[in-house]
Symmetry: C2
Subunit: 495 residues, 2 copies
């Protein structure tokens, strides 16, 4: 068996272990009785350790070198697979074992402290933990950056978004920051002039679930290859052949869960649409977190919060809850789904203000990693940036720099993917409308096969064959920019 084949064998096994981990992770979040937690942690850490050992076994480096030296014999997908194998191996092998262990320990300690600190609004309590993690992440960024030939920040961001470039992110985020404050101001003023009426009432959970499943199926989710369940923190888990979405229902607000389900359905369709012949191989995986987020936002923001979609969905929504009156009309439903508010909480933000939350975090995490911002100054810097970007400031750290888990759990470099995803989504939808002239009409009529087929062919079926920039350009005909996103916001909120 040649070197490349041996690597495929090895990565196939790693892939199967990771699929098992993914299903167990879903089980933990969705249905495991609480008493199973300790044993589950042991199962997961054992499987993770075994997958890691397979990845960093001494023979892998030689196999990668050997396969690389004879890569003229490989096809396009195989060459890309080899590149992705090397990328995964680099990330796993670059960091010395003690540093991996130190990170893991620091993160679990800090995360526990953070949960209490957030509850008690006590940033000082978590500061030492945050400083320790920052120190460790800086080291990890340095050693990975040296191997990858990137800056430390890029090396960290690479873990979520392969090939992430600060030059590109800076340019895109600067462009957004330039138009966003005025746009927010205009949108808020315009909506204030025409307030939309709320729907109140009790929305039975079973009716919500049925409606969600009906819309999921209509859009293209195949329940032969997936499930919809409940968990405290909604997510899309499972594996491409068995995609498991979770949500959380509120009996007094159906739209939040429904839009959440449709968001996760975007992630799910991406998972499901990945190239089946490359299952379990690195090249068969989703391209990165920015592209993944683009798929959820394409469905939630571009499609399902549109007037066209709500025109289609309004009768189904009324039927599900027995709704009557003008507040159940498509236009009223639509206007409630596109409300803009200057808030301090990221996860509650609408699509217009969301980038402000992300850009703020991106700049602060870069400054901390570069040593330009001491973590002790984070609360003040956060409040100032918030005032600057959004014109509001949090009343407390709980609603400020303590609100997100990411930094306290070691996920540095993750935040940009949210907004990169929003940009990609807008650019994809614009391209789809260009390629599919009837698209908006189709959505109004509940036909999604055209759009899903379009994005499946151009994005899902490419797996990790291309880099993110290549993938965006091949799917939309243009390099990733902010123009489509800006046009989308102006069309929806200012037209």
């Amino acid at each position: 068996m040649n070197a490349y084949r041996q690597l495929e064998e090895r990565f196939r096994r790693i892939g199967a272990i990771e699929q098992a981990i993914s299903v167990l992770h879903w089980d933990t979040a969705a249905i495991m009785p609480e008493g199973g937690a300790f044993a589950r942690a042991e199962q997961l850490s054992t499987l993770r350790l075994i997958a890691h050992q397979h990845l960093v076994a001494p023979e892998v480096e030689n196999l990668l070198a050997e396969a690389g030296a004879s890569n003229r014999n490989l096809g396009e997908w195989q060459r890309a697979n080899l590149r992705e194998m090397r990328r995964r191996w680099l990330h796993a092998a670059a960091v010395p074992g003690e540093l991996v262990e130190a990170e893991s320990r620091a993160c679990s300690e800090c995360e526990a402290v953070w949960r209490r600190a957030r509850l008690e609004n006590d940033f000082a309590a978590v500061l030492p933990g945050l400083e320790r993690i920052l120190h460790i992440e800086r080291e990890i960024g340095a050693v990975k950056g040296e191997r990858l030939g990137t800056s430390p920040y890029e090396a960290l961001a690479e873990q979520y978004e392969p090939g992430a470039s600060v030059a590109v992110i800076d340019r895109l985020f600067d462009e957004i920051a330039a138009f966003l404050p005025d746009l927010i101001e205009d949108a808020v003023a315009r909506q204030a002039a025409a307030p939309s009426a709320n729907i109140s009432g009790a929305f039975p959970i079973e009716a919500q679930r049925r409606l969600a499943m009906r819309l999921m199926e209509q859009i293209g989710f195949d329940f032969k290859h997936g499930r919809l369940d409940i968990s405290a923190h909604p997510f899309c888990g499972g594996i491409p052949d068995d995609v498991r979405i979770t949500t959380r229902y509120s009996e007094i607000d159906f739209a939040r869960s429904l839009m959440g389900v449709l968001h996760e359905t975007g992630h799910a369709l991406y998972q499901r649409g990945l190239p089946a012949v490359w299952r379990l191989q690195p090249v068969g995986r989703a391209r990165g977190m920015a592209m993944h987020e683009s798929q959820s936002l394409l469905l939630e923001m571009q499609v399902c919060r549109s007037r066209a979609f709500l025109t289609y969905a309004a009768p189904l929504i009324r039927e599900a809850f027995g709704g009557e009156g003008p507040e159940w009309e498509a236009d009223a439903l639509y206007r409630r789904q596109i409300r803009v508010r200057r808030g301090v909480i990221r996860v509650d933000a609408d699509e217009v203000t969301y980038p402000a939350h992300v850009i703020l975090r991106y700049r602060l995490e870069r400054a901390m990693l570069a040593g330009d911002l001491d973590p002790s100054e984070l609360p003040a810097a956060w409040a100032a940036a918030m005032r600057d970007m959004l014109g509001v400031a949090p009343d407390s750290d709980r609603e400020g720099c303590l609100q997100d888990i990411h930094w306290y759990d070691g996920n540095w470099g993750y935040f940009p993917t949210y907004t990169l995803g929003a940009l990609i989504a807008a650019q994809l939808f614009e391209a789809a409308r260009r390629d599919l002239p009837d698209l908006v009409r189709e959505i109004t009529e509940g036909e999604f096969a055209g759009l899903i087929g379009w994005v499946r062919e151009r994005v899902h079926l490419k797996g990790s064959l291309l880099s993110t920039p290549e993938l965006v350009e091949s799917a939309t005909g243009r390099a990733l920019g902010t123009a489509s996103f800006e046009r989308h916001l102006r069309d929806r909120y200012l037209a």
Copy 2:
């Protein structure tokens, strides 16, 4: 780290992988969408392969020898753990890889053919597959028997019931066969003289589920450490800290599912009661399938089909289904739960006729393995034995030698554990009544803590510390025999 410690580390890891396999197996049976089957098979076979490789790695034999040579330094539990490690290693290492593979292939091929053959009542179709499996099992029995110092049949039975002895099984089964036919005849005649009225009606599944959970909880099942779900073939899965029972409901018959759930609850309490400090180690596992079956039969047959239990449960059952009238009284419910019928299907059999089904299969599988019965003669031999043991004969092979999956899936030597379990259950319950004079009154009042505490201390908490015969003797004060079982049958069915 000394040899024994290294083995504990290794088996801890194997144990965690096997727990992951167990949860995934539950998921497959209970909730996986059908489209996930192919990927799940790959996950499970990968994890099984990894566990197997850990078990048969070249260093294990030396570690076992080294730890064995210095076992004076080990405590009682550690010595037993080492013995169980060696047992597991022997079973895994005894069989050459090609034979393992041949078995696995032959079984999956034959099982698929069997499913169709049973449906179409076509024994000839599955005969070649059965012959191939028989040939392979004979070889496996021979190589394992040589390593274990047992007969080939015992080596196969050892896989399910450690230390299984044909001399003991023969003696016990001969004793049963001597008294059973007359006992069946008397019980059937007596019940025919006093027929019991059926309950008919529709029993909503949600009401059945609530009743089952209420009784499970009352008996001692902790839903913080377990679940009750639905699957086509009811079983008890999961792991000791997260025990997952499944059942199958019929809207026209609540008792079958209820008694099934209580049966699985017995398995579950055993799992849950295994010694927590020995989790993931071989000595911390259940003693074997006979002991496991004894726990389910102790609860189902000895406790829950008793007049005492149904006196306690009758008002709850009436409440669950809004039942009224004499057919809902405890005595009527009880009499319906102890009906004896000469039937041809094992899984439908009552506790009186069940041993006949088992003894028949035990004798036939031994004869086939010994070469005394050619598989082509199985249908005729089956019908003859059935007539001889039970006085009935199947109309077709579908209701005869095609009814059970065991032989067609490579589980030779498994059948005796059902009846060994019934014997142990009767002997345990008799001992418990002797030790706990108020036991029957407690059951009548829905108090189970006394019994569960008794069996937990004497059986569950022993894990695999003792052999099955030692465990039975230490728990009941007597070697395993048939006297308690016979007394139980005579008391319940002939008194």
